[in-house]
């Protein structure tokens, strides 16, 4: 990197060495994080069925992906589940955050803690307890039960994101709306909600991605006809790794990066 300041004094040799090794260490960490992903994407264009030798460039695995009916139907199931779970999580999370922020309750702190526990609870515990609950209440396992269980761990993420935004919001905003004749509901919908929107969307995106790649809880609470993408992929991988899975991963990586960039853009919009 060319130094922008011309008269930057030379560092003593010892410090220069330290500087250099810190830079090298950073590079190493990034290599460790992103090399596997780069290799994975690289081999998705490989003509060979094996992930170890490069034979030639091809798009055939991407074509195979589009023709794989069980995989596509699993993807469809996953998208439906993630979409419904996201909508429900956004509703519960946003309204919950507002109520906890705006009104005083006797057990507000306990409610807050209880709400956040599913975020850190081991998924295996969540899965088993939800399965027992659904069996006891005689709910047939399928879309409904998967969506319900996804909502339990997705909505706290929306709630926390919205709470952080509410924390920085001028309390006089709601008062100004009420003062100008808005009922509490109108004040929330016309003034508070637009201010929360960036947090609601980024919380919603988080919920969507969490639901989309959730595996353990899904295995416990899902029926047969609503297999999700992670379930299908896991099944395929057990039969042996296949460049088609590399292709699918590449598609997912690109989609995820797009999501991350979009939510970052919204965050900046909100910080204005």
């Amino acid at each position: 990197m060319p130094a922008p300041i011309a008269k930057r004094p030379l560092l003593p040799t010892g410090l220069r060495l330290l500087n250099w090794s810190l830079g090298a260490w950073t590079a190493l960490v990034f290599l460790f994080l992103y090399l596997p992903i780069a290799v994975l994407v690289f081999y998705s264009f490989n003509t060979s069925k094996l992930n170890v030798v490069w034979e030639g460039f091809t798009f055939k695995w991407y074509a195979a992906l589009v023709e794989n009916t069980p995989l596509l139907s699993a993807l469809k199931n996953s998208l439906i589940i993630a979409a419904v779970a996201t909508v429900l999580s956004v509703l519960i999370g946003t309204v919950g955050a507002w109520l906890l922020h705006r009104y005083r309750y006797r057990f507000a702190r306990s409610i807050q803690t209880l709400v956040c526990i599913p975020m850190i609870m081991p998924e295996i515990v969540m899965g088993i307890s939800l399965l027992i609950l659904f069996t006891v209440s005689q709910l047939e396992l399928g879309f409904t039960t998967v969506i319900l269980s996804h909502v339990t761990f997705c909505f706290p993420f929306v709630l926390v994101a919205v709470q952080a935004r509410l924390h920085g919001l001028d309390p006089a905003l709601e008062e100004a709306a009420l003062d100008l004749g808005a009922t509490p509901l109108k004040a929330f919908l016309l003034v508070i909600m637009p201010c929360l929107l960036p947090a609601v969307i980024s919380g919603g995106l988080m919920a969507f991605t969490l639901s989309l790649d959730e595996y353990i809880i899904t295995v416990f609470t899902n029926g047969l006809e609503s297999r999700t993408l992670p379930q299908e992929v896991f099944g395929l991988a057990r039969k042996g790794l296949n460049p088609m899975l590399n292709a699918m991963s590449a598609v997912f990586i690109v989609t995820t990066i797009a999501f991350v960039l979009f939510s970052e853009y919204l965050r900046r919009l909100a910080a204005r």
């Binding site: 001028d170 006089a172 905003l173 008062e175 100004a176 709306a177 009420l178 003062d179 100008l180 004749g181 808005a182 009922t183 509490p184 109108k186 003034v191 637009p194 201010c195 204005r272």
Partner: protein, 373 residues
């Protein structure tokens, strides 16, 4: 005072937060078209009182009437009052035009009329050309005007202003004080203005209500409050004052002989002396302490003194004088001419007090002056 029904009628209003009494038994009438300032140090209850007028707080005791209607427990969105918030509280996602039109939208005023009224107010507060800006694209002064415009466009019976000028720099604040006063006269609207800045209060108000520790210390015009303070707190909070403990030695008709802190004995009119109290506080403004090289003519009290300190401040000279009896006064004299003989440290002078310039005030609950901004 006009004998018409008051615009705002507060009766025995009390508000407590736990063990803390924020507003303590306030009874106050505000006339239509009046510019009334609630003045006091922070924590004196003025903002809580304002919030009870806007409806964000409900009194524990007492009643509030606005324009003849009881509003004690009425929700803020049902009251015919609007507020300018200290933080302005502009809606960040709405343009200047949409912010100002928000109240009319809530009242379901027709689009045509709304557009006309918003344009009118934008004109009034000189925001022409900024209609489509977003709040974050405006300067502090412009935001302040938007907040003001948004609050007056629904034509409330009363406009409440919660320290709206405190975030502006000194020069802009002076300019806005004059503009606000002009706007209030132009609209003929009742303004209730909250501030801790005594100068702001003196500049704009028809009447000032001085608060201390939740209680109304004094209500009156700016000149009343300045020249005839009734308590030591008021005398000290508004302007400068020499506050000296006084003991009544003897009465002689309308006047009495008192002994001040330090031992000086002076004769003062007794009209304001608290009944049956042997002790009170004498207040005299520094500019009312006459300093002269000869006995002060016309002053009922005149005594010899020594100047112990002299601070030149351009237009005025600030002096500290110690009378021979040992009582110390702060005095201010005008530097009328460079030729005139000035006073210097160590000079022997005469110090005079006129009857009309000394005020007897009651002691205040808290030692006065601690919370002065």
């Amino acid at each position: 005072m006009p004998d018409t029904e008051p615009m705002i009628d507060l009766r025995n209003v009390t508000k407590r937060f736990g063990a803390f009494t924020a507003v303590d038994d306030i009874t106050l009438q505000i006339q239509a078209g009046e510019f009334l300032t609630l003045l006091g140090p922070s924590g004196c209850g003025k903002t809580t009182l304002l919030r009870m007028l806007s409806g964000f707080e409900t009194p524990d005791v007492g009643s509030i009437h606005i324009a003849g209607e009881e509003v004690t427990h009425l929700a803020p969105y049902r009251r015919n009052v609007n507020q300018v918030f200290q933080s302005y509280a502009l809606f960040p996602h709405l343009s200047v035009r949409e912010n100002i039109g928000f109240g009319l939208r809530m009242q379901k005023v027709s689009d045509v009329e709304s557009r006309r009224r918003v344009a009118e107010v934008i004109d009034l507060v000189a925001l022409g050309g900024f209609e489509d800006r977003m709040p974050h694209q405006l300067s502090g002064g412009q935001r302040q005007r938007v907040a003001l415009a948004r609050a007056i466009v629904p034509r409330p019976a009363v406009l409440l202003l919660d320290e709206p000028l405190s975030a502006l720099d000194a020069k802009l604040r002076h300019q806005m004080q004059i503009e606000l006063k002009r706007l209030q006269k132009h609209l003929g609207m009742t303004f209730v203005f909250v501030t801790h800045d005594q100068e702001e209060a003196l500049t704009m108000s028809d009447r000032i209500a001085v608060f201390n520790q939740g209680r109304l210390e004094q209500l009156g015009t700016a000149t009343d409050i300045y020249h005839q303070p009734r308590t030591a707190f008021v005398a000290d909070f508004i302007g400068e004052a020499n506050l000296l403990e006084a003991e009544l030695l003897s009465r002689d008709g309308a006047t009495g002989l008192i002994r001040l802190d330090g031992g000086l004995e002076v004769r003062v009119p007794l009209s304001a002396w608290p009944l049956d109290e042997p002790r009170a506080i004498l207040s005299v403004r520094p500019e009312k302490v006459c300093i002269s090289s000869a006995p002060v003519e016309g002053a009922q009290n005149s005594f010899e003194a020594t100047i112990t300190e002299e601070i030149f401040q351009g237009a005025i000279d600030h002096l500290v004088v110690r009378t021979d009896a040992g009582t110390v006064f702060n005095a201010v004299v005008a530097n009328e001419s460079a030729m005139m003989q000035a006073f210097h440290e160590g000079d022997r002078v005469w110090c005079g007090l006129h009857y009309d310039d000394v005020v007897i005030v009651r002691a205040s609950p808290k030692p006065a002056g601690v919370a002065k901004p």
